[in-house]
């Protein structure tokens, strides 16, 4: 097994991403991720000493709008996409024991 394949802890990544994967999916994904990460490793050869990181190609700063509420979507229209709703609220599984 190559070094980078050992580094990827799929179970930990699943926890961080809140994503369940079947054993078959994990078996396939492990080597694929290792290969992609092996490929992006080439960035280590670039000299980035003193280079500023770029988050946006065309950065805009201090983009503010007035702090005023504006109508967007009616509650009813919004809730139409909710998997379950009742009394104008989204229904979720029980989160507090007791």
């Amino acid at each position: 097994m190559k070094k980078e394949e050992q580094e990827i802890d799929l179970d930990r990544l699943c926890v961080l991403a809140r994503l369940s994967l079947s054993p078959e999916e994990k078996e396939k994904l492990g080597p694929q991720l290792a290969r992609i990460i092996g490929y992006v490793e080439q960035l280590k050869e670039v000299d980035v000493e003193g280079v500023e990181p770029m988050a946006h190609a065309i950065p805009l700063e201090n983009v503010f709008r007035k702090d005023e509420a504006t109508p967007l979507v009616e509650r009813e229209d919004y809730l139409r996409n909710a998997p379950a709703s009742r009394a104008g609220q989204v229904v979720v599984p029980k989160v507090i024991e007791g």
Binding site: L33, I36, V40, L60
Partner: protein, 495 residues
Amino acid sequence: MELNSKTAVELAKLLDSGKVSSEDITRACLDRVESVDPQVHAFLSVDREDALSQARASDARRTEGKSRGPLEGIPLALKDIVAVQGQPLTCASRMLENFVSPYDATAVERLKNAGAILFGRLNMDEFAMGSSTENSAFNRTSNPWDLDRVPGGSSGGSAAAVAASETILSLGSDTGGSIRQPAAFCGTVGLKPTYGRISRYGLVAFASSLDQIGPFTRCVEDAALFLDATCAHDEKDSTSLPDQETDFLKKMGEHADRKWKIGVPKEFFAEGIDPEVRSSVESAIRYYEEQGCTVEEVSLPHSSYAVPVYYILATAEASSNLARYDGIRYGHRAESADNGIDLYYQSRGEGFGEEVKRRIMLGTYVLSSGYYDAYYLRAQKVRTLIRSDFDEAFAKVDCLIGPATPTVAFRAGEKTDDPLSMYLSDVYTISANLAGLPAMSIPCGISSEGCPIGMQIISPVLKEAEMLAVAKQFEDGHDFKGLTAPDRLQGEGAV
């Protein structure tokens, strides 16, 4: 020629003359969808009655002398990634299979205000992640030039629908080449504007620092019309550029016949390029020289790092953006989960397809504690170097010209088991997204196997009018204007 095969500029004249109505044009497109889409599979759904009622409303406006401009009455189909109030929005994902948009995207609102007939939901790679439209949860779109080949991706449905004359124009989105690569594969014009030109409000987010909306068209002027309608500041998108100059159709005319200084990036003709693509683009460059333009070789020394930088930054942003699909407020919810945390795991595990999961996991990895500096931060720094390469090149030349893709459309299934080789089909398009530059693909040749070849023009920030003029100069000297796939589809019915 059938109405559905014409360009918007041609149709605008016919509409003005009163010889045809928007209803005639819209009906021609809808009929074409019915006859060929069972083979092409460009559309996920079409609301025929809604389209016809928009067309009748447009005809009524025109009769009353209240035409909204050159796009009035022109059918325009939409990638299934932008919100249209009351219409489905699936992103070709099981996750959003039943989602109905509660509002209009700003680009959609502006196209409606321009009088366009917005219809259909076009197939794509799930959440715009892919380069072949084979990652759709619902259907594989075929390339209208050769049904065994892919149309490219992620906006494969948008490209195929224009190439197959199922619509006059279409809207797509481009994060790493998702407009230009399918445009090249399907022989259409495809344009990604400067980052921030078109509002992303109502565009489902994949990688927010890279995503841009843009058009697929059958001629360069139609692309200018799309930009004229959609480019504007929007306070609902904090990355939207303020104080934009538009009026692209007029301005590109003012730049006609300029003797451009054209840069040819030597890295775009390196190993891996198909010889036919190379010779086609090289002869296009010679054409510019014959017109009195000057051509010089330039270097983008960091361009070979664009793909690795992209797959770190785009997946990192995606893993964050796609955290919203949690099965709670909208989207797929797992039925078997018995507590809130399991609901997240299972809804996401069931709702997302293979490539989306792969990218979420990769993005999670590069952002995770201990790896952030080595991958994410380093990639952001190399992004700066990629942009600096362009800045240096544009100090010497007006624009860059090269191939849009290393090969013509590949065969379906050819790359599905090898994600990395799929990623490399975007090798020439990704840098423009990382640097925020406008770029477009226009058809410049047909391969010996009958596949279109695309030439890419990359211009400095906000120089779309100049870029369009460069494209128009080539179009005027060749026979690719109004190009559509050879009509072997018609009359064969469903196969």
